[in-house]
């Protein structure tokens, strides 16, 4: 993003303390510049720029095929982009350029400091192993071996996701869609990631279940200081979750800003069309 804006006119302050915001001293969790990632030279996303800070949720909205999911894959280096840079403020090593990281380090980041939540829980969970094992898997991947500890952590996260700890040994296949999505969150958050990528996390759920999941997600972002990028086609999800929103069309960001400003005063023709298409409940 741009350099800190200086107050124009430069009127000297007559009194009052200096209020340089502390969070601007910390580097953004994710800094993306000029990112282009296409599958065939045409389809994908182009020239994407944004910063994301701790405690911030950024929603990416747009129709299917607008490049939203490609963007997520490029940001997390699952599908390395053709051009542009992604800098990530790692807990262990400070700011790193993802292009310069060896595969081993990228995989480790993906298992520890990042979380991934898929639209279809089948893609984000292992359906054949128990809920408890799903949650404990990431802890084991970072070297925790104590069975009792793993089980306690798993039970804790199940309850935090408002599920009965007695379901610890059941497989996700026996869970409802909403429970499966909550289990995905638990599985991801157990290693306290800094950054979570979510691809249409509520799209497969009933409306009544969506509200609960969104509310849980809101609370977690606040409590844990997470940074999250949420791809959605649902503007109500953006309104509830995200301070900032990117509107994508044809692989490009056509509008970016505060979520409430984009929804209440959309500037781009496409955003105006999206907003005017919301059903009034």
């Amino acid at each position: 993003m741009s350099a800190p804006a200086r107050p124009p006119g430069g009127r000297a302050p007559s009194h009052g303390e200096d209020v340089a915001p502390a969070q601007d001293i910390e580097p953004p969790v994710l800094a993306v510049a000029g990112l282009t990632c296409t599958w065939d030279g045409v389809h994908g996303c182009r020239d994407i720029d944004f910063d994301l800070h701790a405690g911030e949720v950024l929603c990416v909205v747009g129709e299917s095929g607008s490049g939203k999911s490609t963007l997520l894959q490029a940001l997390s280096w699952q599908h390395p982009p053709q051009s542009g840079t992604v800098h990530y403020a790692s807990r262990e090593d400070g700011v790193v350029d993802l292009a310069a990281l060896p595969q081993v380090r990228l995989r480790r980041l993906a298992r520890t400091e990042w979380g991934f939540m898929r639209q279809n829980p089948r893609d984000g969970l292992r359906m054949q192993i128990s809920a408890g094992a799903n949650i404990a898997e990431r802890l084991m991947a970072v070297g925790q071996r104590h069975y009792g500890e793993l089980r306690r952590s798993a039970a804790h996260w199940l309850q935090r996701m408002e599920m009965d700890a007695a379901r610890l040994d059941d497989t996700p296949a026996s869970f409802s869609g909403g429970m499966q999505q909550r289990l995905q969150i638990a599985r991801n958050l157990v290693t306290h990631p800094r950054l979570v990528f979510m691809d249409e996390p509520t799209a497969s759920l009933d409306v009544s279940v969506q509200a609960r999941l969104l509310d849980l997600m809101r609370g977690l972002v606040d409590d844990l200081g997470l940074a999250a990028i949420v791809v959605t086609h649902d503007l109500a999800v953006a309104r509830l979750l995200a301070q900032r929103t990117l509107v994508m069309r044809g692989g490009r960001v056509v509008e970016a800003g505060l979520t409430d400003q984009i929804l209440d005063d959309p500037q781009h023709p496409y955003t105006q069309l999206l907003v005017s298409s919301i059903l009034q409940g």
Binding site: M1, S2, P4, A5, P7, P8, G9, R11, P13, S14, H15, G16, E17, D18, V19, P21, D24, H53, A211, R212, L214, D215, R218, L240, Q243, R244, A256, G257, L258, D260, Q261, D264, D265, Q267, H268, P269, Q272, L273, S276
Partner: protein, 237 residues
């Protein structure tokens, strides 16, 4: 000059809406609006319905993008132009400096009224218990029955929801408060409570800018009025 207590300085503000999906129709709403507001004032925006009073408030809050001009806000020892500021600066401004009370509460599912009111304080870094204490004080003052505090406001009556909304707006102790018809859905008794709260908050040094249709409230709270008339150039300056 004495100590400058100006908190808001608006110069040449214009706002028009371009409706791209209606053949690019342009709706001019505000033109060349200039004014200042200082600590201790309750500035009431006057003007016919549709003159753009709410639009002006929303521009001040960064909810609408101004088409031209500047909106400078005092943030502690600095000035910030809302029209030029990026999203993060506006977020910061909303957390630390400017509060906004709309006509209706936008209820978040499952969050209890007490936490809805305490949230802006928690965002400013106050401990949860202290934030809830202040929230409880405001809810009590606004006659929201204590049995409702632990419940999410979605099921409350319109008047109760609105009093939760007002409590939330006043909770954080912001330097600037923008009020968009906060008393529209309230009965006479609660309307008077809110009017007193507004007067006291201004007297304590807050800078308040508001829109009130209700004559009684307007008379009770206004320290100054300005006319918002679209497409009439400013006088003097």
């Amino acid at each position: 000059m004495t100590v400058d207590t100006t908190m808001i300085e608006v110069r040449g503000l214009g706002k028009r809406f371009v409706l791209h999906n209606q053949g690019g129709a342009t709706l001019p709403v505000l033109h060349a609006v200039s004014f200042e507001a200082a600590r201790g004032e309750c500035l009431v925006l006057d003007g016919a319905s549709g003159a753009g009073k709410s639009t002006l408030l929303r521009c001040l809050y960064g909810n609408y993008l101004a088409s031209e001009g500047s909106i400078r806000i005092r943030d502690g020892g600095q000035w910030m132009d809302v029209v030029q500021a990026d999203a993060r600066r506006i977020q910061r401004l909303r957390r630390e400096v400017i509060g906004y009370v709309s006509q209706f509460l936008r209820a978040v599912p499952r969050v209890p009224a007490l936490d809805v009111v305490a949230e802006p304080l928690r965002r400013r870094g106050l401990a949860p218990s202290r934030a809830r204490e202040r929230a409880a004080g405001l809810l009590a003052r606004l006659n929201v029955p204590e049995r409702l505090w632990r419940l999410p406001p979605a099921t409350f009556s319109g008047g109760e929801q609105q009093r939760v909304n007002i409590a939330r707006g006043f909770a954080a102790g912001h330097d600037i408060l923008l009020l968009d018809e906060p008393t529209a859905s309230l009965d006479a008794g609660n309307r008077d409570v809110v009017a007193r709260l507004i007067r006291e908050t201004a007297a304590a040094g807050c800078c308040i800018v508001g829109v009130f249709h209700d004559e009684i409230v307007r008379a009770a709270v206004a320290t100054r009025m300005i006319d918002v008339a679209p497409l009439v150039p400013e006088q003097g300056a």
